[in-house]
Amino acid sequence: MNLRVNLIDELECRDCSVITARFIVSLLGSLVVAVILIVLGVTFATSQRNAAALKEETWKWGRIEADFKRAQALATRRQAIERVASDLDGWRNARHSWRDELTAIASSIPENMQLTELRMTSEISVLPVAASKAAPAAAPKATPAKPPELSASLRLIGKTSSPTAEADVARLRDVFSEHPFSNTISSAVIPPGAFRLDPLPNGDSSGRLFEILCTYRVKILR
């Protein structure tokens, strides 16, 4: 027989357990707020630290800027002066030694031939610099100009009355393809019509005029 009578309304019943729904909600709420505050705090601190680092780097730049500009000006000046020195070196090193050349030519001409003219011409081809005064800063980035080239040629004009004139002239031409000329001369040819009868009225009927054209190797002046 059950004598227990419950006179408390169901809504007014008290729960004695420690872990209630209200406790869990409060705990979760507190945790969420704490996490949010921590995240915001960390983010704020990081942001402040980054701002300070940026400020420090800006300060460093302010200190070094003048020296950096000076260094850049010096580097540009050094580049310009090195270019001049390099051009002068190229100029000096590309020279033909005409003393050796004339000595070698004199010793190569056979006794049955006589040179009447020796003509050497050389030319330095320089491409114009596309200098833009308006944008000098862009100049170092521009494609470097092609270095000047030195091309030279040697024309030997002579005569011979040898019975084997044609073979002798051909042999002389071949001499220019051999040492020491082969170091400097790239080709030696007898131009078409250059080996011909001597037109002078008092000339010997066996007299022949000849020309040999030698082209030197192109030298780059740099």
Binding site: L11, T43, E57, K60, D67, R83, W98, M120, S122
Partner: protein, 203 residues
């Protein structure tokens, strides 16, 4: 007396609370967290860029002594070349500058020593060196020498010119028969010489 809520009211309060909480979270996220993160990442990027720029600048600044030493050496070399080898114009009171008069004293002793008879000397106006640069610190001028000499004398004269000045360039040579004297030929020599502008200014 404390009001007690019915379960339905509690549910409604919980929903309202959750909605308010979510709204607060969203507000904090968009108004505080995201701007701070964005500002932070921008600062990091700017800082990294500045640090890189500063390191580059520092490296360039460290090279200043090397630049200065090299420039000093090259300036001295160029000055020596200009003073020792460049053809200098000679001032004439009325006609201005003459590179011809500057070249003549160099060539005459060599010609005399080798027996080369100089019958004519013309010097063209110099052009800037390095090549085609209007602000070049040096120049080159072309000189045409006309003379009479034997093959041997011509060779010796050229050798003397080349030995005297490493910056003189023989760019043309014509030896042709001289009907008047079979032993001495007519010779034309074209030289390209390093020449100095009126005022040498270091680069």
């Amino acid at each position: 007396m404390k009001k007690s809520f019915t379960p339905k009211e509690k549910q409604q309060l919980a929903v309202v609370g959750a909605l308010v909480g979510i709204a607060c979270l969203y507000g904090l996220w968009t108004l505080a967290f995201i701007p701070m993160r964005k500002a932070g990442s921008e600062s990091v990027a700017q800082c990294a860029e500045m640090a890189k720029k500063n390191a580059r600048a520092q490296k360039a600044v460290d090279e200043i002594p090397a630049h200065e030493a090299r420039i000093q050496t090259l300036d001295a070399t160029l000055k020596h070349i200009a003073e020792a080898y460049a053809i200098r114009p000679v001032l004439r009171p009325i006609l201005g500058f003459s590179y011809q008069l500057g070249l003549r004293p160099r060539l005459d002793p060599l010609a005399t020593a080798t027996g080369f008879d100089v019958t004519g000397l013309t010097v063209q106006d110099p052009v800037p060196l390095p090549w085609n640069h209007p602000d070049a610190p040096l120049s080159r001028c072309m000189a045409d020498i006309v003379g009479v000499a034997s093959y041997q004398q011509t060779r010796d004269f050229l050798a003397a010119i080349e030995a005297d000045n490493p910056y003189i360039y023989v760019t043309g040579l014509t030896l042709s028969a001289n009907p008047g004297d079979v032993r001495r030929h007519r010779v034309t020599i074209r030289l390209e010489c390093l020449s100095a502008p009126t005022q040498i200014t270091p680069l």
